[in-house]
């Protein structure tokens, strides 16, 4: 595999001038990447519940149809919630984008190969589930158009970004789930969210 892209560069590019986009980050390296790009109250990083990132994104996208919602997750996390691609395909949420940072490894547990290392094609799966665009991104020159789609294109969108299987320095988001959910709701819904 000759993946040239660096995961941190990709996520930084996606979240630069992020506007009012809402972000869900899958557990592990994807959450660290989003934190390295700048911890933000409207980023919801997961520390567990593996396989749930896309579904959290869908619930958010349905609740906030006027906002863009981006799920950033890894190939292992995506594989655990593969059925959620079918569920999203049924809803056809126009404001939802999923970016899978595919290093073909379980990065947090010893770099064991995931199914994508053996050729399982996540983008083809997403396409078959009804995502309006589902692409594999391999080159730096493709990142800008992916970013544009994520922020402006009609969804559901799916990008499987082939990245190097390296381990950039840890960049940990806050750990307490209640804090993460309260700060997200307050930033999105205002102070009244706490008393809703």
């Amino acid at each position: 595999m000759s993946a040239a892209l660096q995961r941190r560069d990709v996520v930084k590019a996606l979240l630069k001038d992020r506007g009012d986009i809402l972000v869900v980050a899958g557990l592990g390296s994807s959450a660290w990447d989003c934190t390295a790009a700048g911890d933000h109250p409207l980023t919801f990083p997961l520390w567990g519940a593996m396989g749930s990132a896309c579904m959290i994104g869908l619930g958010l996208a349905l609740a906030q149809p006027k906002r863009r919602v981006l799920v950033v997750t890894g190939d292992g996390e995506m594989l655990m919630g593969l059925g959620s691609l079918a569920t999203i395909g049924v809803q056809r949420s126009g404001n939802l984008a999923v970016v899978v940072l595919d290093n073909e490894r379980y990065g947090e547990t010893g770099m064991q190969k995931t199914h994508t290392a053996y050729g399982v094609d996540l983008a083809a799966t997403a396409r078959a589930c009804g995502f309006v665009k589902a692409r594999v991104i391999r080159k730096g020159t493709e990142v800008a158009s992916m970013r544009s789609d994520v922020h402006h294109g009609r969804g559901p969108l799916f990008f499987q970004v082939k990245v190097r299987p390296d381990s950039p320095p840890l960049a940990l988001p806050p750990r307490a789930g209640a804090h993460l959910s309260h700060r997200f709701r307050e930033a999105l819904l205002g102070r009244s969210a706490a008393t809703e």
Partner: protein, 184 residues
């Protein structure tokens, strides 16, 4: 000749799914997700017919916990419908509700109780209440149709006002026994 529905076959009173739907509406539940069960047939139909609700069929039950979390982050309330066998699929994902203090409202039709004809439904049916409790979910048992509205209301208040996880388990006595005879 009128084709019998699952509910008519089971001989259950017609009103309790309607009462649950009314309670969901009054508690401003806007996202309904489900893996179907014959016991939820009428409620699923009511939700699909309700334009104020986004209805999300799932491939597996734990997806609905993620959906409820996302709905809450976005300012909406969700409820998750399943049969008791699906509770086992939810165990790890319940950490979302426990850690993040999300409201989680589950409506669970029970299998594996008195009169069950499918032995494969029995182990998870028996384990369902304890599994929920161990996962941090408060269980409200519903045995009588007349209690449906009040029981749902109590669970919804605990979930949405208390930011807690609550499940209403709907007894097999109420939903009836699956007979495994045509017509379905």
């Amino acid at each position: 000749m009128q084709r019998k529905t699952a509910r008519a076959r089971a001989g259950a009173p017609p009103g309790w799914p309607d009462a649950i739907h009314r309670a969901l509406t009054e508690h401003r539940v806007r996202q309904i997700s489900y893996v179907p069960d014959a016991g939820h047939k009428r409620l699923i139909e009511l939700c699909h017919a309700d334009k104020s609700m986004a209805v999300v069929p799932l491939t597996t039950e734990e997806e609905g916990i993620g959906l409820a979390a996302g709905a809450w982050l976005g300012g909406e309330r969700a409820a998750l419908l399943m049969q008791s066998s699906g509770v086992g699929n939810c165990v790890n994902t319940l950490t979302l509700a426990a850690n993040c203090k999300f409201p989680l409202l589950m409506l669970i039709t029970m299998r594996g109780e008195k009169g069950e004809l499918n032995p494969w439904q029995i182990p998870m049916g028996r384990a369902t209440p304890e599994t929920l409790r161990l996962g941090g979910v408060r269980v409200f048992r519903l045995d009588r149709a007349a209690d449906a509205y009040a029981r749902l209301g109590a669970a919804a208040r605990l979930a949405f006002d208390g930011c807690a996880a609550a499940a209403v388990t709907i007894s097999q006595r109420l939903i009836g026994i699956k007979s495994f005879k045509e017509p379905r």
